[in-house]
Every structure is written in structure tokens, then in C-alpha cells.
Amino acid sequence: MKRKIVRTIALGIFALAVVLGAAWQAHAQDAKTPYPSIAPLDQYLMDRDAEIAMARSAAPEAISRDAEVLVLGRHGYETAVKGKNGFVCVVERGWMSPFDGDFTANFWNPKLRGPLCFNPQAARSILPMTYKRTEMVLAGQSKAQIFEGMKAYVKQGLPPLEPGAMSYMMSKEQYLSDNGQHNWMAHLMFYTPFIDSSAWGADVPLTPVMLNPQFHGHPEPIDVFMVPAGWWSDGTVDPVKPD
């Protein structure tokens, strides 16, 4: 009888430990990846007029007022406003984040809003990647499937990168992270072939040039260099973050 009681207690403690351990592990994973999979689609969508205004806020009005504007619908991005100057403004979502590394945590974050205005060269050669990833997201694919899909797209359908491709990302309303200051920094982005980041002197002490972890050969063969703009698109000062 005594042996039976001990055995019952031991099993009970073991079971409790397993359950608690599993619960703790799950909690730790949740903390690490708060957005492990896609949220309901509605959470990624916006009021159409608000999305147009947010997209335009990526660049100074002198540029964005004549730009084409795209908005995200249930079946992908659609043209909401025709443009005249070749620039295209769009609010990107979390799935334009890197597929791996620290910044992949926002891949499925439904709150993420990344307004950009692409210059004509970037509209032709970078924006297609936004379309392609979004198409696969809306088709219900997993992150791993989207990664594989992009690998295939890079081999078969990716337009060549045009020299001078760049974009404005100067919206004060940008939401790029749940942590700290959501609107990270008013900046410009410059697209190059996937190269050694030292070619632009990025990410070394005191340089104003930063390498964006987006793309970077995983799998898109593009590097994105960023330079602080110093002010938001509405003209208010954006104090550049300390080194």
C-alpha cells in the first residue's frame, strides 16, 4: 500500500512537471514569436481613404500628391489612385519582413504598417516582390511556403533590378515594431544587387548608412541601404537616433 502511494505521488509529480514544463515552453515560444501565424485577414486591412492617406505620407507631398497609390484589398493590392510622376506609394504589411533573424518576429504582425513611396525604377523592379509575397499570403500559404515560392520567383520571374531604384519612408505614421518607438525613423532606402555591405560603408561606427535586413539574399538577391532623412514627410524634425 505504501509503495502504491509513493508511486502515485511520483507519477503525479512527474505528470505535473511535464505539464508545467510544456506550458512554460509554450509561453517562452509565444514570447519569442508573438505572431506565429497569419491573423484573420481583416486585421491586415484598412479603411481605404485612410490607407491612401497613409501611403502618401511616406514621401513629402510634392512627390506623393502625383504618385500612384495602391491599397490592399482581399485579393491583393489594387490601384486606388492613378499617378503622374512615376512614383508609387503603398503601405506594406508585416510579411515584407525578413524570413529569418531577429526582425522576422513581425512577419505576421497585423499591426505592422510600412508606408513607402517607390521611385519609378523601384516601382518596376522592387514592387513586384511585394505583389508576389502578398499574393502567396492571401492564398493562405505558410511562411516556409512563401519562402520557397520567392526562391522560385527569383529564378523565374523577378524583373532585373534597375540602377537608382530607391524609396522614401518618411511617414510619421509608420508602425514598424511593437517595441519602443513604433515609427522608427524617417529614412530613404536604396536598392542594390545583393553585395557586401562594406561597399557602402554600412553599419560601422559613425556611418549614417545602415543595411536593412530585408531581402539580403534570403531569398531575394537585393540589398537595401538606408540613410536617415532628418525630418518626417510633414516637415517636422525627426531627431536621428544616437549611434
Binding site: I63, A199, W200, L206
Partner: protein, 236 residues
């Protein structure tokens, strides 16, 4: 008596007018001709070679420029002064790299340190060397301009390679009497294109543009908030 006083005043006034006119003409003459001709070559050189090397390196943060190749200006053109390891090239350009219509085109006091990234070192430096060679040979601005144009037409000079950029973040840079040390900035070079390519020069845009002529080059300029030593650039 009264007439004599008035006459004296009138003569004095006339003298003032004459003196004033002379002074004005002299000033205008100074402005018009101050940098029209090449000054003695010594005025463009830096006496201390090591000072020029150090000065060239101030164009970029030390983390970039310490491993860069450095060129200095000698009596017969630029010469290599320090070998590099990272593909960047630092150099102090002189006034003749300014636009041909710049009134300070031959101002011997101008000192413009740049650190060029590898694509720019391959395709912008040949222009610097060629222009310097022509200036030091004593050619007129018109002759220099014609020669540069011919060199591009014959493809003896390359257009900027994709990704060409440079750092111009030296606190000690001197653009001449009008702009002083201007501001800390990055420059990006392209084969000639229109301003709108990067939305340059529009209200609120942080991108500025300089269209070279006769060189088929467009230069986009983005100011940054700190000098290469990390100190902030005054905002006024």
C-alpha cells in the same frame, strides 16, 4: 563766402562720388576676376603630405577611412600616398572639380575631401585625375570643358558605375567664400538623368541634385546630421 562754402561742399561731394565709383568698380573687378586665372600652383598644394593624408581621411568616419587608399596632390597631379584594404579611396579635391560656371572655380583655398566607395573609385576618380591634369597644365576653363566633353564623347572617361557613392563628412572641408564648410553629406553619382529620378529638389525632399555639364553625370546629395568625428552638424 556762402557760395565758396557750397562750392567746397560740392567739390567734396564730387570727390566722394568719384571715390565711391572707383571703389565700386574695383570691388566688382575683384569679384569678376578674383578666381578667373590659375593661381601659382603652390597655393593649391598642401605643404605637409601627412596633413593632406589625414585631411583626406576626415571625409568619412574613421571606421571606413582608416583602411582606405589615400591620394595626395603633387606638382604633377595626384599620387598614391597610402595603400588601402577596403576598396574605398580618400582624396582632397580642389576647386576645379566645381562646376565650370562657379565663380570660385580656381579658388586656391578650396579643399574638398571625399572618400569614394569602390564603384565610385573606379569611375569617378578618372574624372578627378583628368580635370586636375588639365587645370595644372594651365588650360582655360573653356579648353578644359571642351577637353572633358571630348573625353566623355570618345568614352575615354567612364560614366558612373551602378552604386557609385562617396562620403563628404569632413568638418574641415572648405567650399570657398560662399559656402564655407557647407554641411556633412553623402553623394551618389549616376549617368545623366533628370532631377525627378530621386524626387530631388522638391519641397520637403532631403535629396538635392547637381547636374554636371558638360560631364554626362547627375549627382544626388543627401545631408546627414553628423560630421565624420561624430559631432553634430549645426542645424541653422
Amino acid at each position: 563766402m556762402k557760395r565758396r562754402i557750397i562750392g567746397t561742399i560740392a567739390k567734396s561731394f564730387a570727390l566722394v562720388v568719384v571715390l565711391s565709383a572707383t571703389l565700386q568698380a574695383h570691388t566688382q573687378d575683384d569679384k569678376a576676376t578674383l578666381y578667373e586665372r590659375m593661381a601659382p600652383i603652390d597655393q593649391y598644394l598642401m605643404a605637409d603630405r601627412n596633413a593632406e593624408i589625414a585631411f583626406a581621411r576626415t571625409a568619412a568616419p574613421e571606421s571606413i577611412s582608416r583602411d582606405a587608399e589615400v591620394w595626395v596632390l603633387g606638382r604633377h597631379g595626384y599620387e598614391i600616398a597610402a595603400k588601402g584594404k577596403n576598396g574605398f579611396v580618400c582624396i582632397v579635391e580642389r576647386s576645379w572639380m566645381a562646376p565650370f560656371d562657379d565663380p570660385e572655380f580656381l579658388n586656391p583655398d578650396q579643399r574638398l575631401p571625399l572618400c569614394l566607395n569602390p564603384p565610385a573609385a573606379r569611375t569617378h576618380l578618372p574624372l578627378t585625375f583628368k580635370t586636375t591634369e588639365l587645370a595644372m597644365a594651365g588650360l582655360s576653363k573653356t579648353q578644359m570643358s571642351d577637353s572633358i566633353k571630348a573625353a566623355f564623347d570618345k568614352k575615354e572617361l567612364p560614366v558612373p558605375e551602378a552604386g557609385s557613392m562617396c562620403y563628404m563628412m569632413s568638418k574641415q572641408q572648405y567650399f570657398g567664400r560662399k559656402y564655407g564648410n557647407a554641411d556633412s553629406h553623402l553623394m551618389f553619382w549616376f549617368p545623366k538623368t533628370d532631377d525627378m529620378f530621386w524626387g530631388a529638389g522638391l519641397p520637403g525632399s532631403p535629396v538635392y541634385v547637381h547636374q554636371y555639364s558638360p560631364q554626362p553625370i547627375t549627382e544626388f546629395i543627401i545631408s546627414v546630421s553628423k560630421w565624420s568625428d561624430g559631432t553634430p552638424v549645426p542645424t541653422d
